[in-house]
């Protein structure tokens, strides 16, 4: 008893020291990468992402590291709060010696960290946030973004939606920046391709608090030919359930953003709608050699199929390793120069490039339809849509960014 108490007390007394000593024990032959994400706030999306970058770091280090040095990632939880994220970023850079920051999921946290990166002059690779503002209206010299943005994914859907007969569209989107951007982009892209469409109804349920029954009925009342959906997660499940109970989706086309991602599609189980046009990630169905190698290694390590987050996490580290290699040093200016136009030739999703003009990567997404195979919801009839085809030209993109 006494022994236990003494051990516990000793451990407690030593705890504050761990904070002081971390970082000092690092050998010179490692490169420290700072990583921050909403691990407790949104574990369903950030856990697969974490596994993705862990796999990439392990593979790179086993193969000898980058420039002869091992990669080490110091990963922290931002608790879903932008202010905390900034404090952590500060600590990662000034205390832990991180040469760059990557990660973040929520758009506002991505924006907060990108502004911090600009102020403290450190490279930030925004892995997951989708907000267009990160690379356009609030873009800066120090921030790059990997994942295909809201605008790109909405444009991919609009291209498919334009092929439908539907003329009267209704939209439903969570009421915050992501939902608003997604609706705006879809409207403008679809109207460009099909000037005859009209938008007859908009619904804006609060994020994760959708009153699904009433929302479904409001959409139904507008009698649209087709529906554009941006809700996700728990909202999507409620919306699908109430919508199918009330025949909202009978004889109607639905275009739905991100719904093909396993994070969102799998929880719907046997009730997943069929025939929706979606963007997403068909995971183990992708049969390219690079993807097969990735998926096999991922399954061997974690015992589950990779999700969208996994591929984003994995590609983030691939991109960072490529940049470090190209720069030949960990100096921020050298890294920034390397990131400009950096091409990652082999990734599980194919090659992608970070555009010099707006710092957006051309990593694409998969566009297809939802379907049911052996009782499990999957994407069918899908094809890879290269991000480069859904971005404005580099001149137009430059005009969208604030002057440096």
């Amino acid at each position: 008893m006494n022994l236990i108490r003494r051990t516990v007390l000793g451990a407690l007394a030593a705890l504050p020291l761990t904070g002081l000593t971390a970082g000092s024990g690092l050998a010179q032959d490692t490169i420290v990468l700072g990583e921050v994400n909403s691990y407790t706030r949104l574990p369903a999306f950030t856990e697969p992402y974490k596994k993705g970058w862990q796999l990439a770091v392990e593979q790179i280090n086993t193969a000898g590291g980058v420039n002869g040095k091992q990669l080490e990632v110091i990963s922290r939880d931002d608790t879903g709060d932008p202010a905390t994220a900034i404090r952590i970023a500060e600590e990662l850079v000034s205390k832990d010696g991180a040469v760059l920051i990557f990660g973040t999921f929520l758009s506002n946290i991505g924006l907060a960290v990108s502004d911090f990166a600009k102020q403290k002059e450190v490279l930030f690779l925004a892995s997951e946030p989708l907000s267009d503002a990160i690379v356009w209206s609030k873009g800066n010299k120090y921030t790059y973004r990997l994942r295909p943005s809201t605008h790109m994914q909405a444009a991919m859907l609009a291209e498919q939606a334009a092929k439908l007969d539907a003329v009267k569209w209704a939209t439903v989107a969570p009421n915050y920046a992501y939902g608003q951007d997604a609706v705006k982009a879809f409207k403008s892209e679809l109207t460009k391709l099909r000037p005859d469409v009209e938008f007859v109804e908009e619904q804006w349920p609060p994020l994760f608090k959708i009153d699904a029954g009433s929302t479904v009925r409001a959409l139904e009342a507008a009698k649209p030919d087709a529906i554009y959906n941006v809700t996700f997660g728990g909202d999507l499940a409620k919306f699908v359930r109430e919508g199918s109970l009330r025949f909202l989706f009978e004889d109607r086309d639905v275009a739905s953003l991100l719904t093909g991602e396993p994070e969102y599609l799998a929880p719907l189980g046997g009730e997943a709608p069929e025939g929706w046009i979606v963007t997403g990630y068909p995971s183990t169905d992708i049969e390219t050699d690079d993807h097969k190698a990735f998926a096999d290694a991922y399954i061997a390590k974690f015992g589950e199929a990779p999700k969208t987050g996994s591929i984003v996490g994995y590609n983030s580290v691939l991109a960072i390793a490529a940049a470090l290699e190209k720069a030949g040093s960990t100096d921020t200016e050298a890294l920034l120069a390397a990131m400009e136009g950096l091409t990652v030739d082999t990734s599980p999703t194919g090659p992608f490039t970070f555009r010099a003009a707006d710092h957006q990567s051309t990593m694409g997404a998969y566009v297809g339809k939802t379907g049911m195979v052996d009782g499990n919801p999957v994407m069918v009839d899908w094809a890879y849509a290269d991000g480069a085809d859904y971005l404005p030209s580099e001149e137009d993109a430059t005009a969208l960014r604030p002057a440096e």
């Binding site: 000034s94 029954g213 997660g233 728990g234």
Partner: protein, 614 residues
């Protein structure tokens, strides 16, 4: 016509779910006076348990309803354990202190749920036999909605019978009105409290379990329901179960129709309704005067000026803080700025709660207004850093002047909830008005001026503003104005009798506290370089509340100790896996060891060391 009738039915079905959780909350508050933040967690656990049970006994009607009831009973049992092990030990703590314990429970449940059920949302089966829609006046209505519409009133009736036809119910109602008297008549209060807590938890669990056929079970369920549940309880009148029913119907039906006209309204609708109801009916629709407060507490010890020894210790600590940038790393300096901001925020809230006797659940409103005003002054008006730092607190004080006028007309929990409504309405405006406030993308690029951009220089700016602000609030507490405020807090009637305009003094106290919260917000904005609606969100308000209560509401040093401990422990603990569990456990340990807060605990410790009897 059919369409509107169907919309009404949809609203009523939602009302039933909302009522179930709100009724339990109302019963718990009515009897035990605990503001139970963990109620949303009970709701979530009920849903997860029901999901697991339904998956085992899937398919049959008896299996489904049996699972729902069993899940609710298990949640009731969990409630019992929490009541017996934690809450029972702290009923004699200052009012609202139990709220801190339930906050710790929320954190623990969040991580426990994640560990047991995993991160992914779980979609349970639909209710067997009720998995279709029927046509009413040509409109499809889900059968399960109709079942819910029936369940709400049935539960209401059951509670009514329980309260009016059983001896236990009579005792519960008696305890709701006068706890002391019930105790004096020889009723075992402890078991009465336990039973009320179990019933409340059971109802929350039932509410969660009944959601299985409607929505995916997710880790966000606890926090997404708790705000609305409180709103319903307050609109109905604290402790009134039938009031909760009426309020649930009012909010749900209003929402069902409002989104037809103005879809964006859902974000703030419940809070707008609550604000309107409270302005016209200060005790909610069915609440009785006096329902907002617990039994009268022992009068506090008057605040005493520090003795010489304490003052010397304080100055030494300040000196160390002032010199810290010279012997610590850059990052520590940044962390210290966060500590000082949190401390000023907590001290301003304590001025309102501890000195002014006005509990606020929405103090972040003024913190956020200060931060936003400064950020917008820089961005749109081209202000420099220093003018913006003056402009921010003034705007925060103006906002407090406006909302305070309404709030000081209420008291107790109703006042607290009206401050929350004010904060949520401001949050909604900030969130929604994208062109002006940037929406949830916030305002970026609010960094300190060039000469102040080094961590050290900014530390001293923050030091001067925050320590200066704390000192001024302390001065105010010992000024004649502070004495009057404390007098009003201790006895409003006597203060009025000697000719004090109580409302006016409380109003001015509210404005002062708001202004200094705004000052904290300004320092915050420049230290982070950006502001987001989170800065006036519920989480920020609750953090402040926890700091004040954990620190000890009856001492001026309380919020300082509370804020320091909160920020530093959180900064350390978030490095660990399952940190919410650990953080929650730490909070519970503090709560159990020091029911009078850290400050009270230290005072007791000192007295014990000196060999005095406490």
């Amino acid at each position: 016509m059919g369409f509107y009738f169907a919309q009404l039915l949809t609203g009523l079905a939602n009302a039933s779910s909302l009522f179930l959780i709100a009724s339990g909350l109302s019963i718990i508050f009515g009897v035990t006076r605990i503001v139970n933040f963990a109620h949303g967690s009970f709701y979530m656990i009920g849903a997860y348990l029901a999901y697991t049970l339904v998956s085992i006994w899937s398919g049959s009607i008896i299996g489904f309803w049996g699972s729902v009831i069993l899940a609710a009973m298990i949640v009731g049992l969990i409630g019992l354990v929490i009541e017996l092990t934690i809450l029972r030990r702290i009923y004699h703590a200052p009012e609202l202190f139990q709220l801190v314990a339930t906050f710790g429970v929320v954190l623990i449940f969040q991580d426990a749920t994640l560990a047991i059920w995993g991160a992914e949302d779980l979609l349970g089966p639909r209710a067997p036999g009720l998995d279709r829609a029927v046509r009413i006046m040509g409109e499809p209505i889900p059968e399960y909605d109709l079942a819910l519409i029936a369940i709400g009133p049935v539960v209401l009736l059951a509670i009514w019978l329980l309260f009016h036809k059983t001896r236990w119910g009579v005792l519960v109602r008696a305890a709701t009105q006068d706890r002391e008297m019930v105790g004096a008549l020889g009723v075992n209060q402890a078991w009465l409290f336990s039973a009320a807590f179990v019933l409340g938890s059971f109802l929350a669990g039932l509410g969660g379990a009944l959601q299985i056929p409607r929505e995916a079970v997710s880790l966000q369920m606890d926090l997404s329901i708790i705000g609305e549940a409180f709103v319903v309880v307050v609109i109905g009148g604290m402790g009134s179960v039938s009031g909760a029913f009426v309020a649930a119907v009012l909010i749900s039906v209003l929402n069902a129709f409002a989104i037809l006209i103005f879809p964006q309204i859902s974000i703030v609708l419940p809070f707008i309704v609550m604000a309107i109801v409270l302005i016209f009916r200060p005790h909610g629709l069915f609440g009785k005067p006096g329902s907002e407060k617990g039994a009268p507490e022992e009068p506090e010890r008057p605040l005493a000026l520090m003795d010489q020894k304490s003052a010397m210790v304080l100055f030494a600590a300040l000196g160390v803080l002032a010199l810290s940038p010279f012997f610590t790393a850059d990052f520590t300096t940044v962390l210290m700025v966060d500590v000082m901001v949190a401390t000023l925020f907590a001290v301003s809230l304590h001025f309102m709660m501890g000195v002014g006797g006005m509990v606020s659940f929405g103090h972040a409103a003024y913190f956020g207004v200060g931060a936003y005003a400064a950020a917008m002054a820089v961005k749109f008006l081209g202000f420099g850093m220093l003018p913006a730092m003056i402009f921010g607190p003034i705007c925060a004080a103006m906002a407090a002047l406006f909302f305070g006028w309404f709030c000081v007309r209420l008291s107790g929990v109703y006042l607290a909830m009206l401050t929350l409504a004010a904060a949520q309405i401001l949050w909604g405006v900030t969130f929604q008005w994208q062109e002006f406030t940037g929406g949830d993308d916030g305002i970026l690029g609010v960094w300190p001026a060039k000469w102040a951009s080094s961590d050290k220089v900014f530390f001293y700016i923050a030091f001067v503003l925050c320590v200066g602000g704390i000192w001024m609030l302390r001065r105010a507490a010992f000024s004649p104005f502070g004495y009057v405020l404390r007098g009003i807090r201790d006895s409003q009637t006597r203060a009025e009798a000697i000719g004090v305009d109580t409302r006016f003094h409380q109003w001015m106290g509210f404005v002062l506290a708001g202004g200094f919260a705004g000052l904290a917000g300004v320092v915050f904005a420049f230290s982070k370089g950006s502001v987001f609606p989170d800065s006036l969100g519920i989480a920020q308000s609750i953090d402040g509340l926890i700091m004040v209560l954990v620190g000890g509401i009856h001492a001026l040093a309380g919020p300082i100790l509370g804020a320091g401990a909160f920020v530093l422990i959180e900064d350390w603990v978030t490095r660990l896996d399952y940190w919410r569990f650990i953080f929650g456990a730490i909070i519970l340990v503090v709560v159990l060891l020091a029911p009078d807060g850290i400050a009270g605990g230290i005072q007791r410790l000192l007295r014990m060391l000196k060999g005095e009897r406490a």
